[in-house]
Symmetry: C2
Subunit: 331 residues, 2 copies
């Protein structure tokens, strides 16, 4: 990982990332729902990255990073470790750029994510997340085969790529003629948060930025509150498999700390209710980690009354079994 301070990732790097992604990543819509507005008492604008290539924003950072590698490095190949969404994003970007991809994934990752990553042409290396270190396995493989590691969040190119989500939100708000009061970002390691914070603070300076995490994994919220990087307590569990990173990134945290206003956390029960709401009233498939901001405005964790609030729907990769189980529950 590079040594960088917050100001070294600028709006112009996000704009350059947007140029690289133009015509390749989807410009996902900023959706609105009358039912959601009535339910929350605010105006909620949903950035549907569920409709992005591979069903998650992760493609943006991966493509932005891999497309900037030298021809030699691209020919040798890239390596990434991920429980699923970064894996798919990296595999899809590598495939488009004709770059061999090796992905280190936990053996208990959602099978849909392993299958999708394999279908995108990547070599999958499985590990046991309770007894092995993915960083050790990945670093060793990368050294042996001279592969470039694409980090899941703590990398300037990845952060700039994810920042194109925020850039599009700011443009789409302008097109709608509205000024958002707040942006809620689903937060794991903080790549999407940091990128969106840079873009939105430059383009929509009146908009407050908040992170949303699963209860038990609110390391970013506590880090923002205390001013230093905090870790999650051992033993916590959540269905939000995409948001279980242990601590904010060394690069992402200072950016989030400088530019955002704080963080919230939501329970798995709220996330399940949000997935049901997305099915019933939005007609969208959202995975648990992709639904935490929606959960926060629905359960009152974030009071949207009389506000214009942009929220991220950051991923839609949920298996049929889990979705069915959640939909058939009662609120």
């Amino acid at each position: 990982m590079s040594e960088t301070n917050p100001t070294s990732i600028s709006l112009s790097e996000i704009e350059m990332a947007a140029s690289r992604l133009s015509g390749i990543a989807m410009r996902t819509p900023l959706l609105e729902s009358a039912v959601l507005n009535e339910r929350t008492g605010g105006r909620i604008l949903l950035k549907a990255e569920t409709l992005q290539r591979t069903g998650t924003f992760k493609f943006r950072g991966a493509y932005n990073t891999i497309s900037q590698l030298s021809n030699d490095a691209r020919a040798r190949g890239i390596l990434a470790w991920s429980s699923g969404n970064h894996a798919q994003g990296v595999a899809a970007a590598a495939s488009l750029l004709s770059t061999p991809a090796t992905i280190v994934m936990p053996a208990d990752a959602p099978s849909i994510k392993i299958a999708n990553t394999r279908a995108l042409g990547a070599d999958i290396v499985l590990y046991d997340r309770y007894s092995e270190s993915r960083e050790d396995i990945g670093t060793k493989l990368a050294d042996q085969n001279d592969l470039t590691i694409i980090p899941p969040y703590d990398d300037p190119g990845v952060i700039a790529g994810q920042g194109t989500v925020g850039l599009e939100i700011s443009q789409q708000c302008q097109e709608l003629g509205c000024t958002p009061d707040a942006l809620l970002v689903n937060c794991g390691g903080g790549g999407l948060t940091a990128g969106c914070a840079i873009a939105m603070s430059a383009r929509q300076p009146g908009c407050e930025i908040y992170t949303v995490e699963p209860t038990g994994f609110d390391d970013m919220a506590r880090s923002l509150a205390t001013g230093g990087r905090q870790s999650n307590p051992p033993g916590a569990k959540s269905i939000c498999d995409a948001l279980l990173s242990p601590t904010p990134g060394a690069l992402t945290f200072p950016i989030a700390h400088e530019l955002s206003s704080g963080g919230f956390h939501v329970s798995d029960a709220s996330v399940r209710a949000a997935i049901r709401f997305a099915f019933t009233s939005l007609k969208l498939i959202v995975e648990p980690g992709g639904a935490v901001s929606l959960a926060a405005v629905l359960d009152g964790t974030f009071d949207a009354t009389a506000k214009t609030v942009c929220i991220t729907l950051s991923g839609g990769n949920i298996g049929a079994e889990m979705l069915s189980e959640i939909l058939l529950e009662k609120d």
Copy 2:
């Protein structure tokens, strides 16, 4: 129903409907998926009316019609009969226009559609679709209480309202800088088909328009082929509850006949596979009747190779039980 000939519903009436709906109906996105393009060999643009108010395009025609009633007629109230999507569209439009709504629905309509219609404030009158006539029940109730009937498709105001879907598709194609070769319209009574055909033939004259229906309910396709209104054979069954009308409308058929190129039909098995594809690869909820055009490009009924094809996703009101059953099947 009014006496009208095709040319009496013009592009300008659709443009006026668009003005009435501006800021009230959603301008739904025209979505694109890399996976769907690769799978079909064409460029597929999906008009996602699943994201419309009440999860279906039906709101457009209902609002356009009810908003043009006199204050007296609005105060007395409106009546509609529908198995579900028109019911919800009418109930939502009536609620926004402070108009009492009575909806005659079959007792075996999907319970999600009955519940949603009731939640929108409408009075529901249930009937037995095997022994009773909804038209008789509805006409009698309307006469007794001096209510205005809002027909599901065979009405100039309804056709003009549904035509705003086609108007938006033509505008969104222009914004994308593309010229569609074909538009596939999910077809029940033909309101969406007729409205879209008027708008698209005026704005995108090179675009061929085709209907798609469930197998056993291809009355429009056979009517287009023979030049006269055909009915469906008795006893046919389909899961596409939104598309089971017995014959094309007296108003909608001549418009479709003049402006469209023919019709296709798809099996329930193809529709189920399309619903699974929408879940896995598009992250969208689509109901059976809303998925017939998607089914047609996926199963090869319509060959999209090297073409730019707009397709309609016309509704997303599927119950959790049916969706779960379909998602847990294997392709």
